[in-house]
């Protein structure tokens, strides 16, 4: 056997081996057959074995988590849950929702009552000491809802009003400062619930309602005759899902799945929900150099 023929024999073996390995890998990579190579006690393993995801969320805040006319739970938080279910089981319906009062968002994670809390939760350093946050899925701001039929509709008009401008906001530590950051002279009415904050605007008792940016987008998209967007947003709060600490595989899985849903090759669910609940298209994504 000449040197060349020996090499050709060797290469044939190698080719065959490569094909075999490639075939095996292709099979292994199929989502349904993929078995997470994770540690025995990771939630990722537990959830996959269980066959569905348990998500803690609320039911009283549009457009994040609320019941539609048919009584089904919908919203942006719900969509993120569906994205995870799809990533785990190729089936976005494999989710069990556990309704929580906001006070239970962290306790239910820490005690293991739910696998993950997705409930418009602002990421903070304090909270990060108790739970693990995967990458944020929305940047919330504060914006001013105004009345299309009112005297002051745009942010410029509200600013021009000076001390005559009345703004309602949810009762909170730092509520006054939050408004005065952008409207230093405005009168601030602190009100007990979000719905009442908005009702004050409709009743004409205030000129603008300081609410979440997402709320403004939602209301204006639904009721343009009743609500107007003053066109200015400030503050930025990162919304994140909460997971239990000490579980790197679970944390990484959720982060990666969210990342792919927002910037990767599986953005259909996220984009559709973004449009439905916030009335805006997701900005164009860039290829080449990673920009997220």
């Amino acid at each position: 056997m000449t040197e060349n023929s020996k090499r050709r024999e060797f290469l044939k073996l190698g080719m065959g081996g490569a094909v075999l390995a490639g075939a095996a890998a292709a099979v292994a990579l199929s989502a349904q057959k993929a078995v997470a190579q994770s540690a025995e006690n990771s939630l990722l393993r537990t959830v996959i074995d269980r066959g569905h995801l348990i998500v803690g969320t609320g039911s009283t805040n549009a457009p994040w988590h609320f019941e539609d006319e048919a009584g089904k739970l919908v919203g942006m938080d719900i969509t993120m849950a569906k994205i995870l279910a799809k990533g785990l089981f190729d089936d976005e319906t494999k989710v069990e929702f556990v309704l929580q009062d906001p006070a239970q968002r962290i306790p239910n994670i820490v005690t293991g009552k739910v696998d993950i809390t997705i409930q418009f939760m602002t990421m903070s350093a304090n909270r990060a000491q108790l739970v693990a946050f995967p990458r944020p899925y929305y940047v919330e701001g504060v914006s001013l809802l105004s009345s299309p039929n009112g005297k002051m509709k745009s942010f410029e008009e509200l600013t021009a009003g000076g001390a005559n401008t009345r703004i309602s906001i949810l009762q909170n530590v730092g509520a006054e400062e939050a408004v005065h950051k952008v409207l230093p002279e405005a009168q601030v009415m602190q009100i007990d619930t979000q719905a009442n904050v908005i009702a004050a605007l409709e009743a004409g008792r205030v000129d603008g309602a300081a609410v979440d940016l997402s709320t403004v987008k939602w209301l204006v998209a639904r009721n343009p005759e009743k609500y107007a967007d003053s066109g200015f947003a400030w503050e930025s709060m990162l919304y994140g899902a909460a997971l239990r600490q000490g579980d790197p595989d679970w944390l990484n899985f959720v982060s990666t799945t969210f990342e792919i849903a927002m910037f990767g090759n599986d953005t259909a669910l996220y984009d559709a929900a973004f449009l439905e609940y916030f009335g805006t298209k997701v900005p164009d994504r860039k290829t080449g150099f990673p920009s997220h």
Binding site: S59, D68, G71
Partner: protein
């Protein structure tokens, strides 16, 4: 005004299952606490010293804990001890414990206000303990028991709204869900107030009927 009516009419079907949940929770809590409270109340008055001491300890502890804390303590505190309850049953258990402590008090107050001579007369004609309670003590105690107890029942209905803290969808939560979608709180709070009022008014009327029935017993 028409808008208000429309909003209210629109909301009614969504509130129905919440209403059902409120009634169910209230019913279970009232019935369980009545049975447990009367039994333990009798034990508190007639039982041996060790039992009386134990029951006293139980009621004092529970009545000293705010009901909010009790609800969360039951929901989060029991699983480590091996008892894993659903949100519904954890809330019902917490509310029942709270109400039972009150019913024990009502029972104690009602029964101990009956003159000793009644028990003695009942003993002297040869009735055994159970018969003495059933034929002599309880019929008299009921009259004194009813007013605070019925008050407690209306409180239980109002208090059942606390189950929403554990995510159970009762009338209160159902109201919030609709508001969360429509952002129109007024018609819904109105409707909710009317519904809670209707429930409690029927309860109060029932109590008046019951009180009149027992009124012939002169002090």
């Amino acid at each position: 005004m028409a808008q208000l009516i429309d909003a209210i009419v629109y909301a009614i079907p969504y509130l129905m299952s919440g209403l059902g949940m409120t009634l169910l929770v209230s019913l279970i809590v009232v019935v369980l606490s009545l049975v447990a409270g009367v039994v333990l109340g009798v034990g508190l008055i007639y039982g041996p010293l060790s039992l009386r001491w134990l029951i006293r300890l139980l009621t004092d502890s529970i009545r000293g804990i705010p009901i909010l804390v009790l609800i969360f303590a039951v929901y989060y505190g029991l699983p480590p001890l091996g008892l894993n309850l659903s949100s519904f049953w954890a809330a019902v258990l917490a509310l029942t414990l709270f109400k039972t402590a009150q019913v024990i008090e009502y029972t104690r107050g009602a029964v101990s206000s009956i003159p000793r001579g009644q028990m003695e007369a009942a003993k002297s004609i040869g009735l055994i303990f159970g018969q003495r309670l059933r034929y002599v003590i309880f019929p008299q105690a009921t009259r004194r028991f009813l007013p605070p107890w019925v008050n407690g029942v209306t409180d239980a209905v109002k208090g059942s709204a606390l189950v929403s803290l554990l995510g159970v969808v009762d009338l209160m939560q159902a109201i919030n869900q609709v508001i969360g979608r429509t952002y129109e709180p007024m018609p819904l709070y109105l409707l909710g107030a009317v519904m809670y009022f209707a429930i409690n008014y029927s309860l109060s009327s029932l109590s008046r009927v019951l009180e009149r029935r027992y009124a012939y017993i002169k002090e």
